[in-house]
Assembly symmetry: C3
């Protein structure tokens, strides 16, 4: 077996959810795989990945608002704060969501449900670019 | 390599955790894979998957109670509410748990630990059926 | 295709995060895979896995402190408590984090980002050993 791999280098994004379904789909389309699996892996610990509803933008807004309340900045017990108030919350948000997503490939395309999109969730206020490794087999 | 895939169409379930280990095990048993991996992927964003203790039903009840408290309905800042009070909490619960599970296959069977079961976690009060894509390689 | 598998039996660890990157890397190095994927699966429901920042120990401490506050012991509604106050919180923490991690393999090594390490997160106060199944393909 061989696994088809590509690195996606994404430019800096603002804090919040950013859909990357089409970027990942392009790698799957480029691969020779007809029936198999796709994995998306994020090489960072202060952003994350998720699959979420991609029809209504208010779902994304509410999701961001919920996680910001669940993981507040400036908790008095945080010690890992040298990169600013969004530093430690970013790592916690990463651990509560995903670093790696696996999606089946059927008939040469990702078998996402009707309303499912793949999102990069940027947790930093001033992030640099992010690298994703997409593997298809 | 080829990946063995089956779609499991599950009928509507009540809100809460429902074990689906035997349904997934049946697909693994049907596959020709002796040593490999199994992936279970849920094509929906308002339910989720998890692996959890399957011996004591009180563990499931406590888990459901915890998540209902962590993600309450009717938060005043929620805007994605047109399908009812359980709409937005369902998407949040999905993101905090799993859409996709990977389990090793050893000697033709899933290598789950003694107390591990695979669960569909229905987050809606009145769900329709749910589709799982099971892949084995 | 064949998948290369090894079981890692880890001795008892104290409650908290314990890096296991080198143990997993040794299995990847032993495998014949040059370009592919690695999966780490934990056969338990009262500990978990995560990928986290491995440079600054304060990030680990803050992460442990956050999860202990998010999932407190002795909640009056918990019923699954026969193994002690850390019993039910352990299962909840497992569900909010990961049981299974997938990491791409590039040039014969795991393609982790610069600051990413693989951690076993022990949630019990007095755990026995833990078993990980590492699969490489």
């Amino acid at each position: 077996m061989s696994v088809f791999q590509r690195v996606l280098s994404l430019g800096p994004r603002s804090r919040g959810l950013h859909e990357v379904t089409s970027e990942v789909a392009a790698v799957v389309g480029e691969s020779p795989v007809d029936s198999g699996m796709c994995n998306v892996f994020l090489q960072h610990t202060s952003a994350s990945l998720c699959i979420n509803e991609n029809a209504d933008p208010t779902a994304r807004g509410d999701l961001e608002a919920f996680l910001d309340r669940l993981v507040p900045e400036n908790e008095p017990y945080f010690r890992h704060t040298h990169e600013g108030p969004d530093d430690m919350p970013s790592h916690i948000k990463n651990v509560l969501t995903e670093t790696s997503l696996a999606i089946p490939v059927v008939d040469g395309r990702m078998a996402l449900g009707t309303w499912q999109g793949i999102y990069l969730w940027e947790h930093r206020d001033r992030a640099t670019g992010r690298r994703l490794v997409v593997s298809v087999w």
